[in-house]
Symmetry: C6
């Protein structure tokens, strides 16, 4: 697999949040490696409140990591 | 996307809690980008105890991050 | 919204646990703002083991935050 | 409610684990206050793998807190 | 109950991971005390992807605790 | 079981993420020890959005541990 993650440092909290989203998606991408299947699944779960909340949960966990890595951008 | 997050610092714990809510909703908003669909889904899950509890869970995870960023407002 | 959270400091662990319960409920309250609907939902989930366990989980996450804020009441 | 939690300090890790179990059960007990209903529910979920795993999860979160409070019994 | 946990220190990360598994199983064992029932349930959930993933999640939470207790075996 | 985990240190964040994936899979592997059954289950859950999100969640928890072990690769 290509290099996609070289650092957890970001310039500001918002970029950190977007990195957390990338990490959450990569966690799915390593398990379901077909972009077509992932795209199809996303169409479904984007309309399901429980799965959307679960996706937001995974982002929250990664955001903890990224925020700590950046000393909370203090 | 516009700038919506410039700092994790808040004046007090309650504002920190409200920031955690914003972060939880943004996690959903990046995945389901249509405000109409989100509004429709919210109507449903706001009446479902399990999904409400899950939403509260995501807020709790983000509140950990925000509280640590503010040194627990000590 | 009125002020409901001014500090994470509590006098002892039990009050910290009770604050964690308040935080968990507030996470629900900001999403479902009708007290009547919440009361109705509580009647249901209080008899469902899975949802009760999920509620206990959210309390546990908040208790981590409150305990850290109080340096574990050492 | 009576005093049931005066300290997070325990003599050893096993007592810490048992305190984590107490905390997980208290999280349920504050929500469903009837011991009869809780006893009835426990009969059911103790035979359901998913709910048992969820109960173990809540214990794990509380054990993190208790272990940190005891500096990991080093 | 007999003594089963005297320390969170392990010689290396792999033993720490195995301790995390023990902790996850003990969380179930304190709730469902019958080994026969647990054995029966395990036969079922070992063939269910969602429950297996949940079991792996509980192990992950305990591994965080054990890893911190060992200063990440640095 | 053979030695499969000797260190949490990795050269960079991406290798740390891949170690987190290994840890998540090992958590499943210790519970369901048959590679054939695991392979069969993976075929199913890789097409289910909820289980894929749960798998990504477990990776996120392990990535927190690995990132902390590497001082966030600063």
């Amino acid at each position: 697999m290509d290099t996609w993650l070289t650092s957890l440092q970001t310039d500001n909290p918002q970029e950190g949040f977007e990195l957390a989203i990338t990490l959450a998606r990569k966690g799915v991408g390593y398990t379901q490696t077909s972009p077509e299947v992932r795209s199809e699944l996303r169409g479904g779960y984007a309309h399901d409140a429980a799965t959307l909340t679960s996706a937001s949960h995974v982002i929250a966990v990664h955001f903890q990591t990224v925020a700590a890595a950046n000393n909370y951008w203090k």
